[in-house]
């Protein structure tokens, strides 16, 4: 199957633009500064009064002037999740220095990940439907809620006429970036990819409560503690990141230094419950490294999924240890400062990995103070760790799916 004689030159996908929007930083610079200072965006929910619910903390993106960031026409037809996607995309395009007007629309693709769609928008419309009747439902509902909304709105706003895609679920932030790499390999010059999410409305809250995994601890510094002996569940947040992924030659020709390359990827599914078979995460990491033609020893940091639930943390620690050995690689989870952003988190983690390589620092997983000794992980706690990084692995899990993505400098 391996073609050695006439293998064509592989078209490589590099990251040339980052647009992060997070609870602890409205733009990429502010977010990175927050990570370096260990500043968290977790606080008591303000979007609605959480008093009646068991969980009360969340990572909210700070209030912003919507009309300063979103064209007036789009304001009545977009949910927060989509507004954050548009804001992050604008920032990523700006960061890349791309002049989209000089590239044929068909050469630019778009693929986003999403888990919940425009949820607050839909709660509002459901309220009208059930309290007032169907004729009161907004003319925008049919396309403001559905999962394809961010890809559609971004493609319209930036005139993208290349392939458009939408992947769903908690790993979709990674899967969408991997799909962008496929698009580049197929011949596209530029692909916008990533995920932003917001479920911070009562409907999202109640839905998440049913997972039984939301933390009910009231102290923001003690509520979300992955890999800690005091692990007690996770906190939700909103935001994510959009990236500009570009064919390496295209980036080189315009004199741009990439953040890094999307070098490897794999996704696996867990065996049926009760089968006694090993969960799929270890295999996802190994397949992604193999795809990148790298060895575990080449990896300088792992961005963990970090569920914050003891059983899930243990399974992740076992997979990381199986691949890299005990204390074999620095492991971090800056999402202790943002909460879990659904599809947004893995996309933000890829952005963070790229920034870590650029700056030579691994951001910490603040608040974790008492790691589970049996996990045998080299956790980056409390303070950023200065190091020269050439390879990062980002992990994401959810609903039985395990994805791993390798970024190289």
């Amino acid at each position: 199957m391996t073609e050695t004689l006439s293998a064509p030159t592989r078209r490589r996908a590099v990251i040339t633009g980052i647009g992060a929007v997070a609870p602890n930083g409205f733009d990429t610079g502010e977010y990175w500064d927050a990570l370096m200072q260990g500043r968290s965006g977790i606080a008591r929910m303000t979007r609605f009064d959480p008093a009646q619910y068991p969980a009360k903390l969340a990572g909210e993106v700070a209030d912003y002037d919507v009309r300063a960031h979103i064209p007036g026409r789009l304001v009545p037809q977009t949910d927060q999740a989509t507004r954050l996607a548009l804001i992050a995309t604008d920032a990523a395009v700006g960061d890349s220095g791309l002049d989209l007007g000089s590239i044929a629309g068909e050469q630019v693709g778009i693929v986003t990940g999403i888990s919940a769609g425009g949820l607050e928008y839909s709660q509002r419309e459901l309220e009208k439907l059930w309290s007032l009747g169907g004729e009161h439902v907004s003319a925008y509902l049919s396309f403001s809620w559905f999962y394809a909304v961010n890809t559609g709105q971004i493609s319209i706003r930036h005139g993208l006429q290349g392939p458009g895609g939408v992947l769903t679920g908690p790993t979709a932030g990674l899967d969408s970036i991997a799909q962008a790499r496929r698009y580049v390999s197929d011949g596209l010059s530029v692909v916008m990819c990533g995920a932003t999410e917001s479920t911070l409305c009562p409907l999202g809250w109640v839905i998440e409560e049913t997972t039984g995994r939301m933390s009910t601890v009231g102290d923001p510094a003690r509520a979300y503690l992955p890999f800690d002996t005091a692990a007690c569940g996770y906190l939700p947040g909103e935001g994510g990141a959009m990236l500009i992924v570009e064919e390496s030659g295209h980036a080189r020709d315009r004199g741009v230094r990439p953040y890094g390359e999307i070098a490897g990827y794999a996704t696996t599914f867990d065996p049926r419950p009760g089968s006694g078979r090993e969960p799929g995460l270890r295999r996802a990491i190994e397949l992604a490294l193999s795809d990148a033609e790298l060895h575990p020893a080449d990896v300088g940091v792992v961005f963990a999924d970090a569920a914050g639930v003891a059983e899930l943390d243990r399974a992740e620690a076992a997979a990381i240890t199986a691949v890299f050995g005990p204390h074999g690689v620095p492991v971090t989870a800056p999402k202790t400062m943002t909460g879990r952003l659904y599809s947004g988190s893995p996309a933000l983690d890829v952005a963070t990995a790229a920034l870590s390589m650029r700056h030579g620092f691994i951001p910490p997983m603040v608040n974790v103070t008492d790691p589970v000794p049996a996990d045998q992980l080299d956790l980056v706690l409390a303070e950023p760790r200065q190091t020269s990084l050439s390879t990062a692995v980002v992990l994401a899990r959810g609903g039985g799916i395990n994805s791993a993505l390798v970024v190289t400098a």
Partner: protein, 421 residues
């Protein structure tokens, strides 16, 4: 030698068709299966007709617990999966789980269940702060549609790539393209690929009413969906699922599997125009068609049949007709084009997969399913839309297209699998 993709199994749950055979009998006989909505009390809505499945999860073998945990869309997909696996004569205990995956397309996932449960949590829409004491524990599955793909994967024990693709009304094509892509690139040898949606619920009916996208022709449901007819006035909402077993060609041959058709190529383009509107010239769909044909190594003149999106809206049917003329040139005027949505309606993210199943069955049978309810040709269109009655034809190259909210334009080329080597 590049890897090729074979369709070796088909399972369908569609209006008027409780399995693939019934589905084919229905559409090849030109029989519409649209009716007045029975799934909920719809008398207050503008559009009150739909393509509903006579689908009883208990009869299909789902447990009481599964029926509660899984949205109707997930039930339809798992039922179709069981049929597809049996049809492919695939022994899931002997295939490599690591090399087996699942991709499902769905536009709206578990919305029907969310709609129902929202009503409970909000006490009939009276409370913005919902009461979590009334939450059933499966809400997360309803919200995150990837749970449907997970249900399908667990059904067959797949441990390879699993995902849910959600490009709106083209998701049923995009999920099959994605699965074919994964087989071609070597990430899997067997993929369960298809689409599912169950949108016949108040919130979906209301959302399409609000933009007058669905037909108000409530008095005669059987003729409500009339693609390419001059009197068409909106699509008919429907539910359903189709699941396909896709296999790497040599994998299928090695186990002596029956091959319905080959997935030759695919293409997708965004129109970057409007969330619900279409550019009149059909440029982006034409490009998607050209890309798909090129990948399949087929010339436009080789297309024997076009299975259209044919949603029965004024705008769509004109848009794609323009796209066919643009991409196929003069050949478009002599190529049969038909829309099975005339019989089973538009099941959003499912319909693309159901139509791909129809294409595979049409290749197998040498018969083009017709466009029902087409009596009065629209002078603005002018192609051969195969009205009323199925037409025998040797089908070696079939084009399937789809179009959806968000600006997605998709194309896929299926071939009879001969003549490539």
């Amino acid at each position: 030698m590049s890897r090729r993709v074979a369709i070796t199994g088909i399972g369908v749950r569609a209006p008027g068709g409780a399995n693939a055979k019934e589905f084919w009998d229905l559409i090849s006989s030109g029989t519409p299966a649209i009716r007045t909505i029975t799934l909920f009390e719809a008398s207050a809505f503008r559009s009150r007709v739909a393509g509903e499945c006579d689908f009883d999860p208990a009869t299909e073998g789902f447990s009481v617990q599964e029926i509660r945990r899984m949205d109707r869309s997930a039930q339809l997909a798992v039922a179709a999966t069981r049929e597809a696996v049996a049809d492919a004569d695939l022994d899931i205990t002997t295939i490599d789980p690591y090399r087996t995956g699942a991709t499902i397309g769905s536009a709206i996932g578990g919305t029907m269940s969310l709609d129902r449960e929202y009503n409970v949590l909000s006490d009939g829409g009276r409370k913005w702060l919902l009461d979590h004491e009334y939450a059933i524990p499966h809400l997360f599955n309803y919200l995150v549609p990837t749970s449907i793909a997970a249900d399908v994967a667990r059904e067959v024990g797949a441990e390879g790539p699993v995902s849910l693709v959600s490009t709106g009304c083209t998701a049923g094509i995009e999920s099959v393209s994605h699965a074919a892509r994964l087989i071609r690139e070597g990430s899997a040898d067997v993929m369960l690929a298809g689409g599912t949606d169950a949108p016949v619920s108040p919130v979906c009916v209301a959302s399409f009413d609000a933009i007058k996208a669905t037909t108000p022709r409530n008095d005669d449901p059987l003729t409500a969906s009339r693609p390419f007819d001059a009197t068409r006035n909106g699509f008919v909402l429907a539910e359903g699922s189709a699941m396909l077993v896709l296999e790497e060609w040599d994998h299928a041959r090695a186990r002596g599997a029956h091959i319905y058709a080959e997935i030759g190529g695919w293409g997708v383009r965004a129109n970057a125009f409007h969330m619900t509107g279409l550019r009149p010239e059909g440029t982006e769909m034409a490009t998607a068609i050209e890309v798909a044909l090129r990948m399949a190594n087929r010339a436009p003149e080789e297309v024997d049949y076009v299975n259209a999106h044919g949603s029965s809206t004024k705008q769509n049917d004109r848009h794609e007709t323009d796209a066919f003329k643009r991409s196929l040139g003069d050949h478009a005027f002599t190529t049969p084009v038909s829309s099975i949505k005339s019989m089973i309606g538009h099941s959003l993210g499912a319909i693309g997969s159901i139509e791909i199943a129809a294409c595979a069955l049409a290749i197998e049978a040498g018969l083009i399913p017709p466009t029902a309810n087409l009596h009065e040709s629209d002078p603005d269109l002018g192609l051969d839309y195969v009205p009323q009655r199925a037409r025998p034809a040797e089908l070696r190259t079939v084009l399937k297209v789809g179009s959806g909210f968000g600006g997605f334009q998709s194309a896929m080329v299926l071939t009879d699998g001969t003549g490539d080597d």
